[in-house]
């Protein structure tokens, strides 16, 4: 294998974060910790998205200097994943906010944050 580039490192980091997040979600009993794990999971995905769009030795897709405005395709990284990441972050934010409000409401109902205590509907 040739030298490992930053995109591979960040891809690996993304996957590790993602797995850590899933691990947290399936092993932690505290609802708040589950939500935190969820955000770690989300972050992992976002890092993966960014890593996928990266191309070595290229610059950000912001054409603020004249030399970038010719043969642009040769000089910049992929702008599209960055746009996707933006959307993904915002969605993650919305979901996280909602989850936190749920946690708050659940706590108000039963005064506990253990997920095991919320088994009212089953079978």
């Amino acid at each position: 294998m040739q030298n490992i580039g930053i995109e591979q490192i960040s891809l690996a980091v993304g996957f590790i974060l993602l797995l850590l997040g899933i691990w947290g979600m399936i092993s932690q009993k505290n609802i708040l910790k589950i939500i935190v794990s969820f955000t770690i999971f989300e972050t992992g995905i976002n890092v993966i998205l960014v890593a996928i769009g990266y191309i070595r030795n290229k610059t950000a897709p912001i054409l603020d200097s004249p030399e970038l405005q010719t043969d642009t395709a040769e000089k910049i990284v992929d702008p599209l994943p960055q746009a996707l990441v933006l959307t993904s972050i915002v969605i993650g934010l919305g979901v996280t906010a909602l989850l936190l409000v749920y946690a708050l409401k659940m706590y108000k109902q039963k005064k506990t944050l253990l997920i095991n205590d919320y088994k009212d509907t089953k079978w």
Partner: protein, 233 residues
Amino acid sequence: MLRNSLLILLILGLAAIMYNLYAEFTPKEKLGFVAEHYANNGKDEVGAANLVTAVVVTYRGLDTLGEVSILFLTAAIIGFFLKTKSSNNHALPKVKRYSEILGTGAKILVPIIVLLGTYVFINGHLTPGGGFQGGAIIASAFVLMLIALPRPAINHRVLSIIESLSGVSFVIIGLLGIVLAGGFLDNQIIGLGTFGTILSAGTVPIIYILVGLKVGTELTGIIRNLKEIQNEE
């Protein structure tokens, strides 16, 4: 313990799948054909120096509209989620002791932060940043106010009017695109202007301003709702 080892097995299994994805991934040498199109034609088609913005607001404008909707929806749900029980509770929030230093600092910082946020979303088509980033920055100013000041002067009604109006305007600009230009959300309703200046990229800056306002007010609204519920305790 059995349970935990099973979970570890599960995670290891997932990790093995992910490793395959990782190992198969070969770093890209050049852009894909869609990205290449953006790189080569974005300047002429959209006129935004920040290509990410061009993609976010124009090429993938519908996604952005969706994003805005998600935030709006989340805020709306949190609104009625928290409201339904507390609507009969009109007690004023208990005034806790606030740090004088924090309060004063906040009063100084808030306008500066708002200014920064505004700068970020107004220049979203030129420099890194944009409506979401700017909006988030503005919201952080209000969060600071909520934390630092005993009775922050944030009018819920004004917030929701700004939020809704900017949303409606976004949709109307989108619709104008069908009437006046090439399609829904097309930015060329007005001229593209001079590349690289504030007044360029057609409606992109306008949309980003609207998005900035909307995101800022929505995030503020969410935090405010959470704060209120906390005060009830």
